[in-house]
Amino acid sequence: MLKTVNLQKKYTTDEVETTALVNVNLNVRQGEFVAIMGPSGCGKSTLLNIIGLLDNPTSGEFFFLEKEISKFSERQRANLRKEHLGFVFQSFNLIDELTVYENVELPLIYLKVSNAERKQRVEQVLEQMQIAHRRNHFPQQLSGGQQQRVAIARAVVSKPKLLLADEPTGNLDSAHGQEVMQLLSSLNEQGTTIVMVTHSPTDADYAHRIVNLFDGQIISENVKELAIL
């Protein structure tokens, strides 16, 4: 699904050059659930942003769906994003001015999906996330767990091949956190590839493979040989 070869990322200001990623080689296969762990500032989010096509690497190669895309333009990346990627953030990032329904509908609007099909797909995913009864509420009227379920609904409504989650349970209490992780896990079982950044070992347990990052380098990978599938 995706492969990075000697990926590097440097941030340069007038005086300081900070290296965020050093020669990262990561390979994620179709259907995998990968957790990226590491202390604050180790480059987890930077890596996720590059994988999510929100950022460009300074050097190295990045293959996504067999294509080398590290030199893609903003517009090309935007197109790939909306067709193949879904995002879940720690702070949900729902649009406050839109209702639950309208938030979930938004990616389909950008994909120019027809009105009828949009309605059907949104309803379906809201049911699946058990949030349909809140469809006309605004984000501020929901609990954190509910907001994250809406965010996940929005991330998967376009049926992305790859779901990226940046500390999805970071703002939730443990009960709601567990709920969200179970949702992600079941999405993975249904075939969605997931890459998740997390601090929480409990969350990481849901993944097939844990990649440990330190000072911008992959220092170890733990593969759980579980016969889940």
């Binding site: 942003n49 999510g52 929100l54 950022d55 903003e74 517009r75 935007a78 197109n79 994003r81 909306k82 067709e83 995002f87 953030f89 702070s91 990032n93 729902l94 649009i95 406050d96 001015e97 839109l98 309208e102 509908e105 938004l106 990616p107 609007i109 950008y110 994909l111 929005r154």
Partner: protein, 803 residues
């Protein structure tokens, strides 16, 4: 997609209601002004454009250069029309018309026992030939106007006059007596003259009848009267220049020109008549294209100032939208899509402002009409030009105000946007916002400086000494040629204690009546290349108007020209230094027909508005041409005095209608147009300042919100409230000063040019600029302080908790 944009826009705007209101009200104010100015400009540009031949109708003017300077006017000698018809066939149809200005109308009744009803019309009594209707397309409502004025002694009444003279009756067939001289049969009623014509009329009378009214009319080439004008249509393929040349060849054979003088007859397109003050027109009102440009520019500036508010507020507020933008980008929105979204939002605000401004304009139009003495109206849905104008404003404002904020906001990097890491300074486009604020301040200051200068010049007009008394003097017209009747009753006129002095004269000292004459001074051997202004008045004139003598005495009572009094300028022009020296010298005037002695010299006084220089004046007596009784009365007994004057007047003229005007009112009319401009300047600069303040207020409130934490820290560290206010103010003081440096020279340049139109004018003192700068500074600081104080007085603990 657009539904989604719309939803978000409406909800965002509702959430930030304060911000939305600032924007909408500011924009609405700006657009309202531009809309009103659009209406005014369109109205002014529409004068006489409704005639089907408008593009080829011309008026004959004369450009004359005399030693006293240019004397341009639109009067033509009587034989002009016949000459054109005989020699210039391409000028067809051609017609002359005469404006009697006013007249007294008596309804001739068959019943002697019923007292005759009398009316006084002050202006726009127009005498026209049947060809008038071939040339112009005035509304006649089906009346065959050409036929109706075919015969002599006929009149067409406008609806308003018909209703006034003959309420509830059909006036057709009735007879009116004008000025007790000529009977006119009403042959029809036509609609009122359109507002937008420079040939306004309250009634149209057959041209032949004017010969009995216009006692000055003679059929020679050497008498002109600016109320006697010629209009014609030029054949489509004919050359204006060639026709002008041929006409001047012909006229030069007949016209007698004083040595040193030059004149040329020129053709003025009817569509230009409204804009050229040199020749004037029958409305008594011209407006220069420059003024129209200035008004248009002000309209644009007001919209610009309001749009700048929008840009400033929107970019300052951009941070609040960062998360939304970030998320939309993550979901695959492209930059053009986001720009479209934000432009739509601006469009929505502009649309709301636009609708609001249409309502405002509708509400304010009556006041504007009153201010400008116009009758402009509009009905938006039936007015294609107006809709187009609004559409242009909508698109222009949306793009101008929305483009930059949209560009900035849609350019956010998604990751930083989501993490609210977009740097304040970058988002805010701080230098751009500063520049825009400078532009705003500059516009405001230019307007303030212009307003002060225009106001001062108006005050100068009001207060400048004209060389004569103007207070508590009434001007009462007397019927032409009949001044003697009332002069016989002079002792009766002055018998009332509230009547201080009376004088009969051709006109009060400053009036638009000029009689020019060539002259010979002293030994008659020197040919002077300038003419003198003949001021004909009785022996009480100087006393009544308080004009001082410099030498000699006032002339004696007489009905004809016997003795002369001249003014200082006259002496200067003939090269006499000592006024005493002129006393006793011989003078020949009136085309060499009248000889007499100079008996006195008066101090210079103004003969017309302060736009013009004082000409050389020769005063003398001539009862035949006295048109006015001027009476100096006691202000506090004005009512009694007027009643007494009317009483005596009516004894002398039982068949005429008494009316009067206070002298200072008629003097004020000289500057009506400038007064209107002054009012407009005041209103619009005030609005510009209000809009500017709205923007500033919004801008500072965002700055304060963004720097809440900084203010908290500073306060914890011991900063005083004053220093916090200073923190926010310092920046704006700098901007005001920069704007001041720009605004000063710009406004000086334009106002200096404007003042050049007046021979007598104020000096532009440096204090005007200082005052304008100080005023702007004061307004800006007040606006800033209101917000800054709120930050300064806030509890630092709460401020620090906002993170």
């Amino acid at each position: 997609m657009f539904k989604n944009y719309f939803l978000v826009a409406v909800r965002t705007l509702r959430r930030n209601l304060g911000y939305t209101m600032l924007n909408v009200i500011g924009l609405a104010l700006g657009i309202t002004c531009s809309l009103l100015l659009f209406l005014v400009i369109r109205h002014e540009l529409s004068y006489d454009t409704f005639h089907s031949k408008a593009d080829r109708i011309y008026r004959i003017n004369v450009d004359k250069i005399t030693a006293n300077g240019p004397e341009d006017n639109a009067g033509t000698p009587f034989p002009m029309l016949a000459t054109i018809k005989a020699s210039l066939p391409e000028l067809s149809p051609a017609t002359h018309l005469y404006n009697a200005e006013g007249g007294t109308f008596t309804i001739v009744s068959n019943n002697d026992r019923v007292p005759a009803k009398k009316f006084r019309e002050e202006k726009n009594v127009l005498f026209v030939e049947p060809a008038f209707f071939d040339l112009f397309d005035f509304p006649t409502n089906g009346v065959n106007a050409k036929q109706a004025l075919k015969d002599v002694n006929t009149v067409l009444l406008t609806q308003t006059i018909a209703d006034r003279f003959f309420p509830g009756e059909n006036p057709v067939g009735k007879v009116l007596r004008m000025d007790n001289v000529v009977n006119l049969k009403v042959t029809g009623v036509i609609p009122d003259a359109p507002e937008n014509t420079d040939l306004p009329y309250v009634m149209l009378i057959d041209y032949e009848s004017s010969k009995k009214i216009n006692t000055f009319m003679n059929d020679t080439w050497n008498s002109t009267n600016s109320n006697q004008q010629v209009y014609f249509a030029m054949a489509p393929e004919a050359s204006v220049k060639q026709a002008e040349d041929r006409l001047n060849q012909i006229t030069s054979k007949y016209r007698r020109i004083s040595p040193g003088e030059q004149e040329r007859y020129t053709f003025q397109p009817i569509t230009q008549v409204h804009f050229d003050e040199r020749y004037g027109n029958f409305t008594g009102r011209t407006i220069s294209k420059t003024t129209l440009w200035a008004l248009g520019l002000i309209g644009m500036f007001l919209v610009l100032v309001a749009s700048i508010n929008f840009v400033n507020l929107a970019t300052a507020q951009a941070l609040r939208r960062a998360k939304e933008v970030g998320m939309r980008k993550v979901l695959g929105a492209s930059k053009p899509q986001l720009m479209t979204q934000f432009l739509c939002e601006t469009g929505l605000i502009t649309l709301v402002a636009l609708l609001l401004s249409v309502v405002f304009a509708e509400l304010l139009l009556p006041f504007l009409n009153q201010l400008l003495e116009l009758q402009i109206s509009f009905s938006i849905l039936r007015d294609a030009q107006m809709l187009l104008f609004l559409l242009v404003v909508l698109v222009a404002v949306t793009f101008f105000a929305g483009f930059y904020p949209a560009l900035v906001i849609s350019g956010f990097q998604p990751i930083s946007a989501l993490k609210s890491k977009v740097a304040t300074a970058r988002v805010a486009g701080l230098s751009l916002r500063r520049t825009l604020v400078v532009v705003q301040f500059t516009i405001c200051q230019v307007l303030i400086i212009c307003t002060i200068i225009v106001h001062n010049q108006m005050e100068y007009f009001r207060s400048a000494s004209l060389g004569f008394d103007q207070e508590a003097i009434v001007n009462i017209p007397v019927p032409a040629g009949k001044a003697g009747d009332l002069m016989a009753l002079r002792s009766q006129l002055e018998s009332h204690s509230a009547v201080k002095a009376t004088s009969f004269a051709i006109a009060p000292p400053s009036a638009n009546i000029d009689m020019n004459s060539s002259f010979q001074y002293d030994d008659f051997s020197v040919n002077r290349n300038f003419s003198v202004n003949l001021k004909l008045a009785d022996e009480n004139y100087l006393k009544t108007f308080g004009i001082p003598l410099l030498a000699g005495r006032m002339y004696e009572k007489s009905d004809t020209m016997q003795e002369f009094v001249v003014n200082e300028t006259f002496l200067e022009k003939v090269g006499v230094k000592d006024p005493q020296e002129a006393v006793g010298k011989k003078l020949l005037v009136n085309g060499g027909q009248t000889e007499g002695k100079i008996v006195g010299v008066v101090k210079d006084y103004h003969l017309s508005s302060l736009r013009n220089e004082i000409p050389p004046v020769v005063m003398s007596t001539m009862t035949q041409v006295y048109f006015y009784l001027n009476a100096k009365i006691e202000q506090k007994n004005a009512k009694a005095a007027l009643a007494h004057l009317q009483n005596v007047w009516q004894t002398a003229y039982p068949d005429d209608v008494f009316y009067y005007e206070f002298f200072d009112d008629s003097l004020a009319r000289f500057y009506e147009e400038e007064q209107r401009q002054a009012h407009l300047f005041k209103v619009f600069s005030f609005i510009a300042i209000v809009i500017g303040c709205l923007g500033l207020y919004g801008l500072v409130s965002f700055m304060v919100a963004q720097r809440t934490k900084e203010v908290g820290v500073r306060k914890v560290l011991g900063a005083s409230s004053a220093s916090i206010v200073g923190l926010f103010s310092a920046d704006f003081v700098k901007l005001v000063l920069i704007a001041f440096v720009i605004a000063g020279p710009i406004s000086y340049y334009f106002m200096d040019k404007w003042l050049q139109d007046f021979t007598y004018r104020i000096d532009i003192g440096y204090w005007v600029f200082l005052a304008a700068g100080a005023l702007t500074l004061f307004i800006a600081l007040t606006t800033v302080s209101v917000q800054a104080l709120r930050a300064a007085f806030s509890n630092p603990v709460r401020a620090l908790k906002t993170e």
